[in-house]
Subunit: 434 residues, 2 copies
């Protein structure tokens, strides 16, 4: 399949754009323009193929609190929070103000701003095991850097990660195989979640060669229910890492600071050597961070780390204030309560209509799942109906709640869900057996 | 060198912090705090070790136009422009306003904003060979993705790049070796700038295996003079790539849109298959882009590409307006004229005091260099004197000019340089021989 040059206009879009809900006419028009000038039209986690094509809106116009408006003017009660970053609600005034204040002076300099030091100090204070912090722009910036720090610190090459875990776009871990060569993953080995035998067997067979074990605080694959750690699985990982001189790296990008103001490991009773944060760190401002122990500080200083915009002062200021608000207002507890209310309501309304719904994962980032709905068709039908009625639920990615979700908005979502269930017919396999 | 856990506080900073100019007391205090909580205190291209430790300011407080103020209140006439991104001057009102307008509605959504499509359309219109565009946050995001697109399109593994070129922080190309393993660079081969024999020899010996050749529009290593292409070197690279079905990737991150509003290849008479942009794209807002030909669109759609913040609407809006201003006001011509004035003045003043100064590279991003100053000591002495007098020049990285530099500020810089030269004593080796 050699590469050959060709003229403009000979490319056919890979996605069927023939079906669109009529309420999405502006989304459709923009997407058709996008297909002309962007491979696939929209890529990555916000691509139509990753959601419900023709049913989910393709472009957003504005957002506030726990609602967003698409380019057609349709308003949605949102349960994705920008796929995680929005932890306090869209356009949180205090975060916006702090960022604007930093930005008004300038933003990108030849040097970092004061906020760089203040944010590092705050993270070291906030995260119990952390002695230092560094910052990037993407989650991948810090997960890949952490991998390199582990290799530098140990002089070993092998990296163990969970089957089905997402650690970013870099070749060692990216989902999919486009452009990836086997050498990219030559030293990457995958063990099973809640499967000590699989981990320990691997550690034995690779004895003395493992630099790092990557974990998530709980297992949150896409297209499958979340799984919490069982039988102190993560403590066991920690014990094995500690006794073998392996760096335990926590990828806490998905839910860091949403479940616990000190990082998600606090909710699950273990301590990694490095933790990676992103998403909820700054309520939508672009910044990621890694924190770690002093024993790794010298190795960390040797691994090259930089980017054109990494010192942007506004994102540092936003992160600082966001972390302060999360602790001051006990945001994790508030979000958990609203998540509980939502999940309880959804399960009740589903059951009333003959559907056995389970909410897996933490309540702050639930992955709802219909029993026996292996191909996710029931969930897709439910989310299709819901989005048309103004509730934005995702059929195969965990949802996110924010501090902007209150009892009224949760009850509104439950009412929409109830309407959806009443219009759906449970098949024999998904029927509530209770 | 096995990794072993240790308690807090046993780390010694790798950088001597015992010497600081007295004017940097607040920089020093902040850096001492940073050393406690950040590996190396400050990392990457803004680290003290990358500049003049104890002489360059460590933290910035504010900036406007072509000047910045450090945390001690010292004001500098700036010739680094945030290491490139600031192409219109710090806090350019029109860019800031466009970004603020986009941001006022929200910024990070579950979907891209209209600006995503508009910016892709503008890039495709602006860059002559481009049929499509994609966006990231870091330069590395798009250079590494482009590498993968080339592998996907060709089914080959080998990547050729220039000796001494910088293409980002990823393991295949990062400067330095911390945390890098040999497998990371197993398929990376380096040819010499302006050296057709070295390129062609490599293409012959790796015949049928090369996916991509990475080039820069001119050679801009750190710690060495810039080198322009000679004897149509880049046209030759293009010809070889075209005839062998190899993807020619232009890393135009350093000077893209600063030398020519249509991309730097326009200044040097060649056409790549993919070009990568960052820095000057949005005057400091965090965004990068890759553009390419239709023949690569299907492969591009197959290579995974995403990030938590890549749809931030403010950066898209900023990039759009920044590109418009660059063309509308013919910013490259303006910057070149000011660069000419600066270089001419510096060379004259140097000569008057017995120093043979050369300005290498394009005038918009000059790398000044004292003849025979191989260890850069004369340049370091010059930059040390200059920064103390309020002109921020870099001793071993190319400088950057912006549209905010006018004749008065250039003349002010030349006057400072003149003072510096008059205080320096040329050794025999660096003496002006004319």
């Amino acid at each position: 399949m050699a590469f050959a040059l060709a003229g403009k206009g000979d490319f056919r879009p890979p996605i069927d754009v023939s079906f669109f809900d009529s309420r999405l006419s502006e989304s459709r028009a923009l997407f058709e323009r996008a297909l002309q000038v962007v491979p696939g039209g929209i890529y990555g986690h916000t691509s139509p193929a990753a959601g419900l094509p023709g049913v989910f809106p393709y472009f957003a116009e504005s957002a506030e609190g726990c609602r967003f408006t698409d380019v057609d003017g349709n308003v949605y009660l949102d349960f994705m929070c920008g796929f995680g970053p929005i932890v306090l609600g869209y356009r949180h005034p205090e975060v916006e103000e702090a960022a604007a204040e930093a930005k008004a002076k300038g933003n990108l300099y030849n040097q970092p701003s004061r906020g760089f030091v203040e944010l590092a100090e705050l993270l070291v204070e906030r995260v119990d095991f952390a002695d230092w912090a560094v910052f990037g722009k993407n989650g991948s910036d810090v997960t890949t850097w952490a991998l390199q720090v582990a290799r530098e610190a140990t002089g070993r090459k092998k990296i163990l990660m969970l089957k089905g875990a997402y650690h970013g776009v870099d070749a060692w871990c990216a989902p999919g195989y486009g452009g990836i060569i086997e050498e990219d993953r030559e030293h990457i080995h995958r063990f099973g979640w809640n499967d000590p035998a699989s981990l320990c067997g691997m550690l034995e067979s690779l004895s003395g060669q493992v630099a790092a074990v990557f974990v998530t605080p709980y297992h949150h694959p896409s297209f499958a229910p979340s799984e919490m750690p069982e039988n102190n699985f993560l403590s066991l990982v920690q014990k094995e890492c500690n006794s073998r001189g392996i760096v335990m790296i926590l990828d806490d990008i998905r839910t860091g600071f949403r479940l616990h103001s000190g990082g998600s490991h606090r909710s699950f009773g273990f301590e990694p050597d490095i933790a990676c944060y992103c998403k909820a760190l700054a309520n939508g401002f672009p910044i990621s961070a890694a924190v770690g122990r002093n024993a790794l500080k010298a190795a960390a200083a040797k691994v090259f780390l930089t980017g054109s915009y990494w010192n942007n002062a506004d994102a540092m200021a936003a992160a600082k204030v966001c972390l302060q608000i999360i602790e001051r207002e006990n945001v994790p507890a508030k979000i958990e309560a609203m998540g509980n209310r939502l999940c309880r309501g959804l399960i009740e309304q589903a059951a009333r209509n003959g559907f056995a719904l389970q909410c897996t994962g933490p309540r702050a980032a639930p992955y709802p799942f219909f029993k026996e709905d292996r191909d996710l068709r029931v969930m897709q039908e439910f989310c299709t109906k819901a989005v048309r009625k103004g509730a934005f639920f995702h059929p195969h990615h965990n949802w996110f709640l924010s501090a902007a979700h209150d009892e009224a908005s949760i009850d509104e979502a439950i009412a929409i869900a109830s309407e959806c269930f009443s219009e759906m017919r449970p098949s024999e396999t998904v029927k509530e057996s209770a």
